[in-house]
């Protein structure tokens, strides 16, 4: 099964790299969408369905925490699993984001296999 992924990050360079890392990791990707912050992501999700979301925390307008809150309060979107990709790996932050509904957490810098493992674990992809 191929998956549709949304990358939410205010850095175009980081979005490019995350997308490339997913492609290089061997993850079964069908479509990849990008958004520069939580607001853009919510707008995109009004007309595109995705299987999983990768989101940064520190972003303008609607940051990662607010984005998670808005997803959780949306009947249609709360079931879409979200993985936080961030430089911040403090215990407080990870705990707070998981309590807001994040299903996984990947700390930058990361290796391609780490991101793939997190995606597959979150999506329940069976090991080959």
């Amino acid at each position: 099964m191929a998956y549709r992924v949304l990358i939410v990050d205010d850095s175009p360079a980081m979005r490019t790299v995350v997308r490339r890392v997913i492609e290089l990791s061997g993850f079964d990707l069908s479509d990849c969408f990008e958004a520069g912050n939580g607001r853009e992501a919510l707008n995109l999700l009004e007309h595109e369905w995705v299987d999983v979301i990768l989101t940064d925390i520190n972003m303008p307008e609607v940051d990662g925490e607010e984005f998670l809150r808005r997803l959780a309060s949306n009947d249609l979107l709360r079931s879409v699993p979200t993985i936080v990709v961030s430089t911040d790996s403090t215990e407080n932050r990870i705990s707070r984001l998981l309590s807001l509904g994040a299903r996984g957490y990947v700390t930058k810098p990361f290796r391609p296999e780490t991101l793939r493992e997190q995606l597959e674990t979150t999506l329940g992809v069976p090991n080959e």
């Binding site: 850095s11 175009p12 360079a13 980081m14 490019t16 790299v17 490339r20 520190n58 303008p60 961030s86 430089t87 911040d88 790996s89 403090t90 215990e91 407080n92 932050r93 700390t107 930058k108 810098p109 990361f110 290796r111």
Partner: protein
């Protein structure tokens, strides 16, 4: 005054970020003096602790780093993309470092800015802090962090 655990954590973070996300290895740490850096990223952070991280890099090295990061030819990379990548590099190093030395507290990274040396309106460099300078194949890279309050390392893994 040197804060050895912080200095060690800084070296570790610079190495991890460059190797894992930018695929740059074989880093040689060098004396902090010398490089004629042509690009500077300035990244303030708030919380516990608050402070500033600055990253200075030679222009040629910045372009090489950006090209490698984006898997593009150097000639294809725009100045804006170079700045974006250098800001992201500063962001990752700062987040990695603060997570190491202040793992149980909270901090918030503000938006990094690119400032050419001597630019009008550039924040005044207060001096001090901990620095790590590495020699890359295409130039020098220096990272300095200044904190308003001393960091409490979660050691022992960062006490050598």
């Amino acid at each position: 005054m040197s804060d050895e655990p912080l200095a060690d954590a800084l070296r570790t973070s610079v190495g991890e970020v460059l190797e894992n996300m930018f695929f740059i290895d074989s880093l040689d740490e060098v004396a902090p003096a010398g490089p004629e850096c042509s690009m500077r990223a300035w990244l303030p952070f708030e919380g516990s602790p608050s402070g500033i991280l600055t990253l200075e890099v030679d222009g040629a090295a910045a372009r090489r780093i950006a090209a490698d990061f984006l898997a593009a030819e150097e000639s294809e990379v725009t100045d804006r993309q170079v700045g974006d990548v250098i800001c992201e590099l500063a962001n990752m190093i700062c987040g990695s470092l603060l997570s190491k030395v202040e793992s149980t507290t909270s901090f918030r990274l503000l938006a990094p800015r690119i400032l050419p040396p001597g630019a009008a309106g550039a924040p005044e460099d207060p001096g001090g802090g901990e620095s790590s300078t590495v020699s890359l194949s295409s130039g020098m890279l220096n990272v300095t962090i200044r904190m308003e309050s001393p960091a409490c390392p979660k050691a022992p893994e960062f006490v050598y």
